[in-house]
C-alpha cells in the first residue's frame, strides 16, 4: 500500500510539471460527473486546493495517507466531502472527485513515455484509493451527524402544545409517531395541562400519515394519563382512510370522544364548558 520515497518523488514531479494541464483536465472530468450542479469556478478552486495539498504532502515525503505528512491532505479531503455531503451530492459523486485524478494521470503518462512506468502508477493508484476511501468515510460521517441533528430538531419542533381557547389546549401531531416522540408529546401535553390549568385537551392527528396499533396505543395512553390528572381529551382530525384502518385493526377508543376536524372538537369542548357555565349561573341564582 505504502508509497516508497522514489515513488512519491516521481509523483511530486509529475504533479508539478504538468500542473496547469492536469488541473484543467481534472476539473473537466469532475464537472462532467457532477453535471453542472456546482459552479465551474468553485470546482476549479476545490481541485486546485486538493492539487496543492497533494503536492505539499508528497514533497514532504508522504508514504501513507494515515501518516503525519498526510495531515493537511486529510483535512482538505474531509472539508471537500463535508461540503459535498451538505450540498446533497451522492457518495459516488463525491468519491469521483478524487478518483478522476487516476484518469488524468494515466492520460499524462500515455502522452509522455518518460513520465513513469506501470509500477509507479499502481503504487500511486493505491494512494488515490486510500484518499477515495477516506473521502467516503468523511462523507458518511457528515451525513450521519446531519441526520442526527435533523432528528433532534424534528423532535423539538414538531410537538408544540398550543392554547386555542380559555381552558382548552391542542396538540397538532405532524409526522409518524414513534415511542420516543410519543413520550415527548405525552410529557409536554400533561405538563401544559398542569401549567395552564386547562381541563380540556384536543389531540389533532391530521398530520399523522398512518395509524397502526402502536400509534393508537400511544395516543390512548396519553388520553388515559390526562384523565387520571383530571383533564378530558378529544381526538380530532381523523381522516377517512385512518378511520377505516382503525376499524380494520380493531382498535377501540372506548368512551373517548373522536371528531373529524379540529373545529368540531373545539365546538364539542365549548359546548361542554358552556354547560358548565350554565350550571354555575344556575347555582348562583338558586
Amino acid at each position: 500500500m505504502a508509497l516508497s520515497a522514489e515513488e512519491s518523488g516521481w509523483l511530486a514531479r509529475l504533479l508539478t510539471k504538468n500542473a496547469e494541464q492536469l488541473i484543467r483536465r481534472w476539473t473537466e472530468l469532475v464537472a462532467s460527473s457532477l453535471r453542472g450542479r456546482l459552479s465551474h469556478a468553485e470546482l476549479a478552486r476545490q481541485v486546485q486546493e486538493l492539487h496543492r495539498s497533494m503536492i505539499g504532502a508528497v514533497e514532504n515525503g508522504l508514504t501513507d495517507l494515515d501518516s503525519e505528512q498526510g495531515g493537511e491532505l486529510r483535512a482538505v479531503l474531509a472539508e471537500l466531502s463535508r461540503g459535498r455531503a451538505r450540498q446533497g451530492f451522492s457518495a459516488s459523486e463525491t468519491a469521483i472527485s478524487v478518483f478522476a485524478l487516476k484518469d488524468v494521470l494515466l492520460e499524462l503518462m500515455e502522452e509522455d513515455q518518460n513520465a513513469g512506468n506501470l509500477r509507479d502508477f499502481v503504487a500511486f493508484s493505491a494512494l488515490i484509493d486510500q484518499m477515495g476511501l477516506f473521502t467516503f468515510e468523511s462523507f458518511v460521517r457528515t451525513r450521519e451527524s446531519l441526520i442526527a441533528d435533523q432528528a433532534e430538531q424534528l423532535l423539538e419542533l414538531s410537538t408544540p402544545v398550543v392554547k386555542i381557547w380559555e381552558g382548552v389546549v391542542a396538540v397538532p401531531l405532524v409526522g409518524t409517531l414513534d415511542s420516543a416522540r410519543a413520550q415527548v408529546v405525552m410529557e409536554r401535553l400533561l405538563q401544559t395541562l398542569v401549567d395552564t390549568g386547562s381541563p380540556y385537551a384536543i389531540i389533532d392527528i391530521t398530520g399523522v400519515p398512518a395509524v397502526d396499533t402502536q400509534v393508537a396505543q400511544h395516543i390512548l395512553k396519553t388520553v388515559v394519563a390526562a384523565r387520571l390528572m383530571g383533564a378530558d381529551c378529544i381526538i380530532s382530525g381523523i381522516r377517512p382512510q385512518i378511520a377505516q384502518t382503525i376499524v380494520a385493526l380493531g382498535i377501540e377508543f372506548g368512551d373517548i370522544a373522536t371528531k373529524a376536524s379540529l373545529a368540531d372538537a373545539l365546538r364539542h369542548v365549548l359546548r361542554l364548558t358552556g354547560v358548565d357555565n350554565a350550571r354555575r349561573h344556575q347555582r348562583r341564582e338558586s
Binding site: G197, P199, A225, R227, L228, G230, A231, R280, R283, S286
Partner: protein, 136 residues
C-alpha cells in the same frame, strides 16, 4: 405517628396528603374521614396528591377505598393535583383508577363537586330543568 389532616371548607372536606403513606396512616385516614363526613354532613371530599412523587398500587387502592367509603356516606370524592410523571407511571402500570373522579387542581375539584350537587338539585326541581340534565 403521622396523621393526615382533614380540613372542612364549606360543604367540602379537603385532605392534602403530604407524607408517604403507610398501612397505618392509610387506615387512620379512612377512619378519620368517615367520622368527619358523618359529623359534618359534608357532601364532597377532595384528596390533594400534589405533593406525592410516587403513587403505587397501594396508594391507588387506598384512594379507591376512600372513594367507595365516601360514596356509601353520600359524598363525592375527587382526586386532584396528580403530577404528569405520576399519571404516566400509573398508565404504564395499567392502573387507570376508573372508579375515581379526578381534577387538575383543588379549584377545579370544587367546581366538579359543586356541579355534581347541582345536577341532583336540578333533578329534584322537576321538569323545567330536565333539558339541562339531558345534555350532560
Amino acid at each position: 405517628m403521622e396523621r393526615v389532616p382533614v380540613l372542612k371548607i364549606g360543604d367540602i372536606l379537603l385532605v392534602s396528603i403530604q407524607v408517604d403513606m403507610s398501612d397505618q396512616t392509610a387506615v387512620m385516614l379512612q377512619e378519620d374521614l368517615a367520622e368527619r363526613i358523618v359529623a359534618t354532613g359534608c357532601h364532597g371530599v377532595i384528596i390533594d396528591i400534589t405533593a406525592l412523587d410516587i403513587v403505587d398500587s397501594f396508594v391507588g387502592r387506598m384512594l379507591s377505598t376512600i372513594a367507595s367509603i365516601s360514596k356509601v356516606l353520600d359524598a363525592e370524592t375527587v382526586v386532584v393535583g396528580m403530577r404528569p410523571a405520576v399519571a404516566i407511571t400509573l398508565v404504564e402500570l395499567g392502573l387507570s383508577l376508573n372508579s375515581i373522579r379526578t381534577a387538575l387542581n383543588v379549584e377545579r375539584g370544587m367546581e366538579l363537586i359543586a356541579a355534581a350537587r347541582t345536577d341532583e338539585w336540578v333533578m329534584v326541581d322537576g321538569d323545567e330543568d330536565a333539558e339541562t340534565t339531558a345534555t350532560t
